[in-house]
């Protein structure tokens, strides 16, 4: 029976020849991930179950990235629980501040997650690794604890929706715009419980960083996972990083899809998601005058090197509006270093922005850029729910890095073209 890439990876990890949507399986996990918010509860559950050792110290990965460097005493205690557990269990992949980056940028960069893997993480944006051609999904802390102990977890085989993107991207249109547009079309539960398979000639020419951005936001459509077919671009990215074997899977011709959606990319312009849902999208040319107090460029969605390069391309030679705080967060130490080498940090500082160490911080209203009552931000992050970045009466607009950078200069949400910048 022909299968999708998602079905094939799940079948392989369950030791089955074939699987069908709706089927419940028990599958081996290659990597189980936790962060400083979710791991402490998982560790508590781990102890409560009477477990002594994780199933494999090379496959349980802990990343203090949300409220680290510690934002207050309480978060310092959370990070400490995780640090001590990592030492006790002698985990190979525990990343201390200085080596740590935002988990979903860090793990692929370090070759810790690979094509063909089955990855679970107690963080909803774990779906990011689908960009590599892996099955990767977010779970809660108790599921993480179960996987830490047994190396296995139960799954229901999801239905798959296939998304086909055709045509050439317009100037300043990237992975962020394709995924925002898609969520705008299908809604925040348009792929509930399902796999989103991203294909088409536009995708073939989309660089790795753009693919990570798209897979990252599959959860914002309710999906279980987002997935790409690994190809030359993937191979280029993975070789030299991988520390173990990996496998390329592909959907069979004749695989069953619940739905197939096609998009003409030449008609898509940069997108902005209005408060308070990622699906409230509009083309950037249709938004009117929206003044902003803050702009954030970073996060597991758009804090990678290509994102920073794009922001720098817009910011070069400009000063940001005196009414705006621009916060830029390179997602990992290695991205930070490379941005320094390429002179991007210089451009950011000259423009009047502040550069943060890698952290999730402001994306979820933690710290490093929390909004006051009535304030408005544009952010390259992934969620704009009520109070997401601070006060319940603050507002978040989502966009790509170029639009966020242009908006910081303009003091209102706008396009790079409004500054005379060509893509």
């Amino acid at each position: 029976m022909p299968m999708t890439i998602t079905e094939k990876i799940l079948a392989e990890h369950a030791g089955l020849k074939e699987v069908k949507p709706g089927q419940l399986i028990n599958a081996k996990v290659d990597v189980a991930l936790g962060n400083d918010i979710t791991a402490p509860i998982a560790i508590e559950q781990f102890r409560r179950a009477g477990a002594k050792r994780v199933f494999d110290r090379k496959r349980v990965v802990l990343v203090p990235d949300h409220f680290a460097p510690n934002k207050d005493i309480k978060s310092a205690e959370q990070c400490k629980i995780m640090r001590e557990f990592a030492r006790e269990q002698r985990l190979t992949y525990y990343y201390e501040v200085g080596q740590v980056g935002i988990e979903h940028a860090l793990l692929p960069e370090q070759g810790t997650v690979l094509p063909g893997d089955l990855i679970i993480g107690a963080d909803s944006h774990t779906c990011t690794y689908g960009a590599l051609g892996a099955f990767s999904t977010g779970v809660g802390s108790t599921d993480l604890a179960a996987a830490m102990i047994t190396g296995e977890l139960w799954f229901k085989i999801p239905e798959t929706i296939k998304f086909i993107y055709r045509g050439q991207r317009n100037p300043w249109v990237g992975g962020k715009d394709l995924i925002l547009y898609t969520i705008g079309e299908i809604g925040v539960d348009g792929a509930l419980y399902m796999a989103m398979e991203f294909t088409g000639d536009t995708i073939d020419s989309l660089p790795m960083d753009g693919r990570f951005t798209m897979a990252n936001m599959a959860i914002e459509a309710g999906a279980k996972n987002g997935i790409f077919h690994p190809d030359r671009v993937t191979e280029q990215y993975v070789k030299g990083r991988a520390k173990r074997k990996y496998h390329f899977y592909a959907s069979d011709a004749g695989a069953h899809f619940k739905d197939i959606r096609e998009f003409d990319v030449s008609k898509i312009e940069p997108q902005v998601a209005f408060p308070h849902l990622p699906s409230n999208t509009r083309g950037v040319s249709e938004i009117g005058k929206i003044f902003i107090d803050q702009a954030v460029i970073g996060s597991c969605t758009n804090g990678r090197l290509d994102d920073l390069r794009e922001a720098a391309k817009v910011l070069r030679g400009h000063r940001i509006s005196p009414n705006v705080r621009l916060i830029i967060i390179p997602a990992t130490p290695s991205i930070y270093r490379q941005a320094m080498k390429e002179g991007l940090l210089e451009i950011f500082l000259e423009a009047g922005s502040v550069i943060s160490p890698p952290t999730c911080g402001p994306c979820l209203g933690g710290y490093m850029g929390v909004l006051a009552k009535g304030e408005r931000a544009i952010a390259t992050t992934n969620r704009n729910f009520i109070g997401r970045m601070g006060h319940p009466e603050s507002e978040v607009y989502l966009s790509n890095p170029a639009v966020a950078a242009a908006s910081a200069i303009l003091g209102r949400i706008g396009r790079p073209e409004d500054l005379g910048r060509k893509g």
């Binding site: 108790t142 309710g222 979820l364």
Partner: protein, 163 residues
């Protein structure tokens, strides 16, 4: 097992930032989390709910982050059951793993009004509206999930299988 209490109604796409804002995620203590339950959505909720009360919401309840703090906060607040037209995937798993009863029923959500007295029989999936006299049927829980509930949660389920 039966759940009994007053209905608190909510709209579609109630996300985990609404259920428990991230600014409180520097703790894991259920009682402390419960004090801020639904704060971004309805600031009165944490003060005015009584033990046994029921959350009734439209589609995609619990969307957003994977934080288990969300079902923990709801459970610690004394909410006995969440009825919704549909649940976000991670929240659905988390609620079962935590032992927070959740049921899906379109007709119950459409029929129940704010403040109605509700009784949910989790075994049969029957929902009674004591205020209006109406009754509704919930979608059955998959047998596999029922097993986890019967064992008392995922950790207990695993402990049982390993022994």
């Amino acid at each position: 097992m039966k759940c009994k209490g007053r209905a608190w109604k909510f709209g579609p796409n109630i996300n985990t930032d609404a259920i428990i804002p991230a600014r409180y995620l520097n703790v894991t203590d259920p009682e402390e989390l419960a004090q801020h339950c639904m704060e971004n959505e309805n600031p009165r909720f944490a003060q005015e709910t009584k033990d046994g009360d029921v959350i009734v919401a439209e589609t995609n309840f619990g969307c957003g982050s994977s934080r288990e703090h969300a079902p923990i906060a709801i459970k610690a607040k004394g909410i006995s059951c969440v009825i919704a037209k549909s649940f976000a995937r991670i929240f659905y798993r988390n609620a079962f793993n935590m032992g927070l009863p959740i049921v899906e029923s379109d007709e119950a959500v459409d029929g129940i009004r704010e403040g109605d007295e509700i009784e949910v029989d989790l075994t049969s999936g029957k929902i009674n509206n004591k205020t209006t006299g109406q009754s509704y049927q919930a979608n059955p829980i998959p047998p596999f999930m029922q097993e986890i509930i019967d064992d008392g949660g995922l950790m207990e389920h695993i402990a049982k299988r390993r022994s």
